[in-house]
Each structure stands twice: as structure tokens, then as C-alpha cells.
Symmetry: D2
Subunit: 352 residues, 4 copies
């Protein structure tokens, strides 16, 4: 079924292919005409076929899983790194320099070593690389991504928050001292690790907030907004766990600046993302829904006037595994390889 032409194809490895982001990369790359999967690693599942780990990928012709130590990096052009936070930095530090790297972990997202140490509980162990890494929020960092060797792929929540907020802050259209981000995520964001809190019976038929005022995506969001503003910004970021597999909806509450209206915000965003294939600013009155981006690389944004005078509500919807992880990683790969960013990402959302 996988009948892609592979002449001049990018030779790709996926480190840590037994998790959801790894599987999602492979799902999307299956329809990517200019790439070829040459290596898949997964320490505990080494020796197994990928089909044993992810039966939905059984139809693809893919190499068996190996241990990292058995990888032949000389046969690769680019690796996606889907390893756990913390261990990633040392793995990447040992990779040969000819490789392009897109890291889906959090290890290289925070550019300030002190902030990293505070939020992740230890000193960064690859400071040199940290300085080199480019934050891969493609629409906002395209020029740097194109030239990057090491891309830190953004977190799912930070993607959903920064895409609407950064242009509004750059346009000086909103106050930056009380931005409230109430985010709702599907369970796949917690990964495939067997944890009581991710069990069906613990998640189904309910909702709760978690990581309140203490989630590691808060400093990542603040980094992006502060950079846009030129001054340090703190935000309220409150994530909630939802009984669904995929999707993040961020409901963002902002105060308007200098007489701006909700329509102005919408116009600012529409202009900023004009021509962008993956960011869609909805017309007045339309509310984004996660089910309309399921499986796609889209980010939908809606803007509404608030009942509170001088305030507005900005809503964004993404699929956390696609635009929030593996889709954006492929978008970055395309940019780094000089391909159209949409290559392999044309799939329409799966609804219902």
C-alpha cells in the first residue's frame, strides 16, 4: 500500500518509536512522498516488529525496532527524537553532527538554562546544544527553522496558546499582565505509559484540572509571549484532562488594549496567518471544535467579544498529536529540507 517514490528521499530515523508521537509520525510519513523510514528504536521493545507494538501500522514496510546503541546513523539524514524528557539531551549530544534532528521532547524548548533547571529539577546536560536549538513553532519561527540543525518541537499546549497570542502581543492589541489560558486536552497527551491516572475508568465520564499553576508548559508559553512582548510575561495556564483521545482546546481570556475590539483581534490574526496552510482564523461567530481538526495538522482560531467591556475571548483548537507534536515535526522537517510545508500533511480531519 505504501507506494511512495523514494529516489532522493530523506532517510529518516525515529528514536523512541513505541510511543504515541512516534506512531503518529509513522502514520503521517506513510503518505509523505519524499521520505523513507530507515531506523526505528525502542529500548524495551527492541527486536520486535512495529506491528507488534502498533497493529494499526502493520501494513507499512518498516524496519524492526532496535536499541539505540545498534543504530547506524551514517545511513540517516534526519532523526525524530521521541524519547522521554531528561534522557533526550544526552542521547542527542552523542549524535553525529551530519544529522538533522527534530526533538519532540521538552529538553531543548526552554532557552534559559536557569528556567530549565527550575522546572525540570536538574542542570541541563547539553548546554551547547541548547544554545543551538531552534524553537520549532513553524509559522512563527520559519526562517530559523529552515536553517536549523536541531529543532526543539514545541509542546502541545504551548502550540495552541502561542499561535493565537503571539501575533496579538506583537500587534500590541492586548494587555499582557493578565492572560488566562484555560486548556482542555485529550488523554493521548499523557503518553502511552501505564499510569493509574490515564486508565479508561479513571478518565471516562469526567473532567478535572491538573498541574494547576505548576505545569511545565507554563514557562514554555511565557517564553514565547515574553519574546513577542520584549518584557517578561507571566500567564495563568490551567490544563484540564478530558475524556477524549485527541485534541486541545485553549480558551484564552484577554483584556483589549487601546480601544481594540474583538473584531480587531480577529483581523490581526487573519492577516498574520493569511496564506498559512495550517492556521485558519474562523469568521465572526464561529467557535473552533477539536473534532474538526482530529488527525489533521490544522489550528483553528476563533475570536469573540466578551460580556466584560474591553475584553475578548480567543479560542484555539488543535490535534495534540499532530499540530501539537508529530504533524508540526514533519512540517519542520519539510521546511528544513526545502519541501513544501504541506507535504504529507494534506489529510483532512476525521469526523465523526
Amino acid at each position: 500500500m505504501n507506494t511512495k517514490t523514494t529516489a532522493n528521499a530523506l532517510r529518516i530515523g525515529v528514536l523512541g518509536a513505541s510511543g504515541y508521537t512516534g506512531a503518529e509520525l509513522l502514520r503521517l510519513l506513510a503518505l509523505h512522498p519524499g521520505s523513507e523510514i530507515r531506523m526505528l528504536s525502542a529500548e524495551r521493545r527492541a527486536g520486535q516488529s512495529l506491528a507488534a507494538v502498533f497493529p494499526h501500522l502493520a501494513g507499512l514496510k518498516l524496519p524492526d525496532l532496535i536499541k539505540l546503541d545498534d543504530a547506524d546513523y551514517g545511513a540517516l539524514d534526519l532523526v525524530f527524537c521521541c524519547l522521554p524528557h531528561g534522557t533526550t539531551q544526552e542521547v542527542i549530544a552523542r549524535l553525529p553532527r551530519h544529522l538533522k534532528i527534530i526533538d519532540l521532547s521538552a529538553d531543548f524548548r526552554l532557552s534559559d538554562p536557569a528556567s530549565y533547571a527550575t522546572w525540570y529539577g536538574h542542570e541541563h546536560r547539553a548546554l551547547e546544544l541548547q544554545r543551538e536549538a531552534v524553537y520549532g513553532l513553524t509559522e512563527l519561527k520559519r526562517e530559523a527553522v529552515i536553517k536549523a540543525r536541531l529543532v526543539a518541537n514545541p509542546g502541545c499546549y504551548p502550540t495552541s496558546a502561542q499561535l493565537p497570542l503571539v501575533p496579538l502581543i506583537e500587534a500590541n492589541a492586548i494587555e499582557t499582565d493578565r492572560i488566562i489560558i484555560d486548556a482542555k486536552s485529550g488523554v493521548s497527551g499523557a503518553g502511552r505509559e501505564a499510569k493509574e491516572g490515564s486508565l479508561f475508568a479513571e478518565v471516562s465520564e469526567g473532567i478535572h484540572a491538573y498541574g494547576i499553576a505548576s505545569h511545565r508548559h507554563a514557562p514554555e508559553i511565557e517564553q514565547g509571549l515574553s519574546e513577542a512582548s520584549g518584557r517578561p510575561i507571566l500567564v495563568n495556564f490551567t490544563p484540564h484532562l478530558m475524556p477524549m483521545n485527541r485534541g486541545i482546546l485553549s480558551s484564552i481570556y484577554v483584556r483589549l488594549k487601546g480601544g481594540a475590539s474583538a473584531d480587531d483581534l480577529r483581523a490581526t490574526l487573519a492577516k498574520r496567518y493569511e496564506g498559512e496552510p495550517f492556521v485558519r482564523v474562523l469568521h465572526r461567530g464561529a467557535a473552533p471544535a477539536t473534532r474538526h481538526v482530529r488527525g489533521s495538522n490544522l489550528c483553528l482560531i476563533g475570536v469573540f467579544a466578551d460580556r466584560l467591556p474591553g475584553h475578548a475571548i480567543v479560542l484555539s483548537a488543535i490535534d495534540n498529536l499532530v499540530k501539537g507534536a508529530s504533524g508540526q515535526a514533519i512540517q519542520n522537517m519539510n521546511a528544513m529540507a526545502g519541501r513544501p510545508e504541506t507535504t504529507g500533511l494534506e489529510q483532512i480531519a476525521l469526523f465523526p
Copy 2:
């Protein structure tokens, strides 16, 4: 199975028994020792047994459904009114004065006729009764409920928002000019009417906001908060539709006043609800989850310090069909009848 003693029992009718709030009343009243269901109405299902409409209630010995016009009100002491908004007021206006009435519709919730006309699109047609009606948020209106003949049972969202906010406003602990209520509700809140938007395939595996800045529960919340404050308050109220049957989580973002801390808010709420059987203020660090109140009359409240200095996050969880509708209605009935408020409402939440 229904072996209740019925001497001196309250003789009860349910007008509009074929919807979810009607069914939930009957589920709870089945274990209520001092009541007896004498009449059930449902215009379109008249002549049918309740078991035909709600098989889960088949074990109860209940009268068949009749038309409103066929009701013998002389045989009743109290009616619950679960009719649609708008038509309720005229039905209630025709009821004999000896009846106590608990109305689960929105018809008598707004005390200001002008506000009613604005939000519901027509002049109120029972102004006399509207003046008489008592807003039945039991914990906050107990004295008036006890003496009431007509109780306007609060909306589900307004219950979840006012229980945490009213005491904080009364204690002058929070600013009232920018209260943000991000609420998430299960689908049963939309009722049993066959609507495309409530279909499984439209709701499952997704989330979206709706009624943004235009939901009719906003003025109801504002009425309660304004009364607590003594000055008119507007709020941001943004409801979201969740893929679950039951439950409302309200995530409320507030600015602290006069040096108060999140711990102060928690203490204020804990003191206010001390001894209340149905409102539970959680200890520091605990986040309420809707799955822990499923099927019960509880409201759980948690308070967290915000990353934003001088701000706090207040979370409340209820079951929209119980504390948000039928459970609170029975709580009000108990209060009106001089029974312990917990009568018939002792059921523990169903988890998982």
C-alpha cells in the same frame, strides 16, 4: 423494591416527567422515605407507563403518564415542574394555590422582568408569580426557601458558579469587575430533545465552547453575584460541551482584593459551608473532579493560588442533573417540608 413507608407522606406530582430532570427526580425520590409520587404528566407520552419512556425506572411502582389537563391537583401537596422554558409560567399560573411548587425551568429565576424579557425574548406572562418566587439555591437562600410556596430551582451552571463565588463576594475578598467562569458541562444538560448537536457522533471525542457571551445562564449568575455585592456585576461566562453524560466543572479565575491569599479564600469558603452536608471545600492542593460527584448532590470546591500575583483559581464540580437540577429540587422540597435536607439524597457518587 420500593418499600417506603408512606404514612403522612408528601403527595407529589411531576409535570413533564419524560425528560432527564424528571427521570432524575424519580430516581432520587425512590429512596426518599417521606414522599409518594401520585401524578406524572407528559403531553406526548400520555397513556404510556414511565417504564416505556425510562426503562431504568421500570422497578418503581409509579402512576402512568397523563396529560396536564387530566391532573387532579387536589390529591397533591407539591409539584415539581420540569416543563420547557416559556410554557412553564402559564401552567404554573393556573395551578391551585394550595400546591407548593418547585420549578426546574428558567421561568422564575430572573427577578427583574426587563432582564427576563431581554434574555428570553418576550414579556413575562406571570409577573405576579415572578415576584413571589424564591430563588432556590438552598445553601444561600435557606430561610426564604423554607417559607416559599414557589421555588425557582437554579440553573446547573449558575449553581456551580454561585456556590463558590457568592461567599467570596460577600466577604469582599475578590474584585468583582473581571470574574471569568470557564465552565464545562456533560451533554445531559442539553436535555432529551433530539437535536443534531446532541448526537453521540457530534459530541464524542471532542470539545467546543458554545453560547459564548450570550448564554442565558450569564444573567442568572450575575443576578446572584450582584445581589451579594450590592452593585451590578457582569461576568465572563463561557460554557463548553464535553463528551460525558453528567457533570459540570467551573474553572473560575478571580483577582484577590486587599491582600487576600488563595488560602484566605479557601478558609472563607470552608467557614461559610461548615456543617453543610452537600458543599465540600477541599484541602489545599486538591482539585475537584466531576467523576467524584456523579449521581450525588455534592458540590466540591477547590482553591488554588495562581501564577499571576494577586490572583486565584476557584474550581467547583457538581452533577448537573443532581445538585444542578433534581437533587437541589429535592433538597428544597425537604427544606419546605421541614425535613432534614439530606433526606433521600444520601447516595454516594458512582465511581468509576
Copy 3:
């Protein structure tokens, strides 16, 4: 909220209270007027409050969790044993003889030691007790349960299969050589252990069969049917994992014997369960649904004529955690204690 009278109450311990069946016992016992929880054990959570393990039970006045070795069995009349299969038998063997015991594990369900060894992979380690144990399918074993000291509480699937099948076999109304039981279960049946296969993202939005022709509930079902028949019976038992928390639907396909019709089967079952408070045989044309028994101790049974001449379809629905586990355990406790079997089990199903 727990205002039960406790004079002459049964003093109860729950061994292994940190799993779903333990929690469900406590939910139901909270409304049981003649019992008092005196001891809760959970090895790994010893020292914690139950509210820390199950927040939905926070309102109950319950003892903290202890280790088994710290239990004072002299202060107890009866224990529910919710420990894992295999370890249970040795724990129970050490309990003092004055205790009544209801074991929710599989350890004492199979009366044939050879069958036990085959299916559970080791010789039984408490053969004496195994001989003493009474299989607690209450409606079918009432006389023995009433006199029992040790009750082996039936498995969830076996309850759903035997309640409809045993009376039909006893009545010689169906052929016994090709009974097919296609069963569908909610995820709570897999327990609270953190396993990849029970994760929300692995279970939601899908269905699959598991344990095909090899599930340990097959011999348990066959034991009951063989006993009813007087001859050894093998069955097809095919369980499926469903994206729901609770409920088992067993769709049972049978061949009619000696000119019997589906109506005859229904009449046989209706007669057999006449007066039983927890087994309800539905009228012709009505199909049982798990959502109509959610949270209740009911078993609904429906019978349909098949398109295949001489065949019929028998459907049964239970809540796996109630009639399939903790509810039936309390029903057995009531029988053993000479109380009405419905005590504490009057709750109506929670729908929606």
C-alpha cells in the same frame, strides 16, 4: 451524611479496599442500615485515608487503611475479601473461624481442584476451605448461602451467563452442546491496575475480543451449567472489551429443545425469577441495555426468537461491579445475616 443506626450492626472488614470492587462495596454499604465498617486493608496504601485513594468516598466516616498483619479480627463479624487471585486462598486460610467470609476473588469458585490447577497454573493451597466454600450466585444457591461461612462470590461474566442459562437447562428447554455466549464488558472489570491495555487511549472508540477460548470465566460458567444439566457442558464464551466504565451484556445463542419456543424460554425464566427483587425478565420485544442497570444490583433478561428455526437469543445485562461483584456480595451478606436481601441495594440505576 452517614447517619445509619448501628446498634447490633454487623461489624465488617474489607481486605483489599483500594480496588474498584472494594470501593463499590463501601459505596453500597454506606446506605446499608445494619452494618458498620470497622477495618479496611490495603498493603501498599496502608496508613492513608480511604479518601486519598477514592475521593468520591471522602464523605464517609471510615477507618484508615491498614496492613493485613495489623488487623484485629476479633472485632469483626464478617470480611469481604477483595484481594488478587492466587494470594487470597492463603490469606483466608489464616483467618479465625468465627469470621464469615465473602471472597470476591476467583480462588474458591471452582470446586474441582484439577480444574483449578489447570486454569490457574498451580495446585490449590487451601483445599479444605475450597470444599467448604459455597458458590454465591444468590438466586440459584440461596439455601446454601444462608448457611455458609465462606462464600465464593461469582465472577461478573459467569453471573451474567448463568442467571439466564441455568433455569433453561434445568427445564430441559435448550440443547447443551452448542451454547454460544458473546459477552461485552466495561473496562472496570479489568480492575484498577495500571496496564497499557486499560488506558483510555487504548480502549476508547473501539472494541475487540480478548481471551478467546481461553478466559478463566469459561470453566466457571461451565461448572454451573454442568451442575444444572447433570452432564459436562462446554460452552463458547467470547468476551469483548467495550469503551464504557461499567456493564456486561451477554448475548447468548441457543438451540431450542423438544419444540420449545422463545416464548417458552421467557415464560420459564419469568416463572423461575418471580418474586426475585434483582432479576427482571423483560416482556416480549424488549432488549436489555447495560445503561438501565448502571449502579444497580439488577440483572435484566430478554428473550427473542431467532431467524434460525429452532433457535433463540437470550440477552442479559448487569453492572459488573454490582450484581457482577460487590452488590451480589452484599446480597449474600444479607442472606447470611438473615436480613432482607435487598437491604442496602435499593438504589435505582443511574441513567443517563
Copy 4:
């Protein structure tokens, strides 16, 4: 985003584009390189954009919805007909003869007019066309489909049942007098019509059988099996409604013939479907899961030995909207147009 080359493209119309099968056709055709959507009809939504009806399709450049009477059939080569059962036959009878037609309704699936009249309650109103129609179960009817003008696209359940059963019957490997098909379907199979029984709150967290011994897909299945056998076959077909959007799992219970084993059945199926891109026979011990085909055109088949001697269990999984409807329709279109059948259908299943 839709950058397909359209030279020599097939010009396509979709009659009845506002339902789920219509939307699914458009999702899949968006990545189909040799087709162009030229017309979309929907009587009640005429004049609207498709994005208004299905926001997840907003990115596609598609014509607005029109009324059937306004269609210019001269500009089309092929139409997919997604109209309701019963009305379809008259619409198709009026279409010009140059059009190729793939009908997703049930109107032309039953070749026997008497059977049609019995099951659909009226005489067929286009008998001429009924004789011309080819039943489009592609893998089994390929030669006829290639030459067809009018294809009756199979029902979802019949696809899942016939793909595994027909080869086994043709191979004379199973008895045909007691085939039991216990099928479980997601809710999208019920369509987008607003019905109480399809509401989220009615379907979620539960399962029930419906259409027992009376579902219209039974005669469709029997027609295919009878044709394979050469003699009339009746089957047990029992569908169940599941709380999931997509997917059908058919658990089929069969009696082996002439000493065949489960392994023989698997080998027969593997040989029959060797080289077929969309039918995958799993290795021994592997059970098909609907989540592994979600959004894809695959049919997974697993075969297991039964505990009952001489019996076997055959399981098949499809996505009801893809292989069970729109995907198979496109597969048929490809066959009719001389394209590779996989064109536009290469998408990998979306998991989780």
C-alpha cells in the same frame, strides 16, 4: 491545500452530501488524484456552503450545496448517491444514462424483488435498474464492478460479514445451517438524523442489541452467502449499538465441516485475499480491533479455534464509514474507472 492535478479527472457529483457518508466521501476524495468534485446536493441545506454543514471540510474548494433539480448532469461523469433508502430508486431512475452511479443506499442491494418488498415494505419502483445493478463488494465482485454502470454499494454490516464468510462457504469449509453473526457497531452507522436513540446521553456508557432477528441487513447477508453456497442460507444476525463513533466488529460463530480446523479456515481466507490491499488476515492468536482500522479502508480478519469441538470463531473489523460505505464506494469507482483500487485510499488508520 487541495493541490490535486485535475487533467482528465473524473467529474463527480455527490447526491445527498449532508450526511456522514457524503462527508466521508469528500474527506477521502480530497486526497484522490484523479477526481474532481463538481456537484453537491442536499435538499434542505441547498444554498449553503459545505463548510457550514461540515466545518471539518472547510479547507476544501468545493461547490456549494444545490437542490437535485438544479443539477447539471451533463457536466458529470459519475455520481455517488447518498440519499435515504426508498427515495433513491426514483432519483436514480431519472438520471441520464451516460452517468456511472454508485449508490450507497440499500435500494439496489437486494436482487430479488420479492425480498425487497418484504423487507422494505413496498414494491420496488425501478425494477429495470435493479436488474442492472451490480452488488459492489469489490473483492468478491470485481469483474462485474469493473463493467458496471450502476453499483449497489454494500451495507456496512454485510461487508463485515460477507468478506470472511463467503470464501469459507465457497471452500465448503463450514456448515451453513447455523451461522451466528454477533455484530457491534459505532453510532455513525445510524446517520446524522436527529433521533433520541442516537443522542450522546442515550448511547454513551452502555450497549444494547437492536433489530434482533429483524434487521434489514440480514437478507443482504443471506443473499451473498446463499449465492456462495448455491442453496438458501438463513443466518442469525444480531447487531449491537456501541458507544463509539466508528467501527464494526463482527464476531462470527461457525461449525466446521469435514474435519476442517480453525487453521484451515485461516489458510483459506489468507489464500483468497492474498494480494488484496484492503483485506488482511491476521496471524494465529491475533484478534482484530476496530481501533486499528479507524478511518482506513481495511478489513481485518482473525480466526480462532473454539472451545466447542468442531467449531471456530471468525472475527472481522472494519470502519463502517470507510470499507463499510464511502471507502468501498471509492474503491468501486476506481475499479470502474480503470484506476488502481487503492487510489485515494492509502490513509493509515488513526490511532489512538
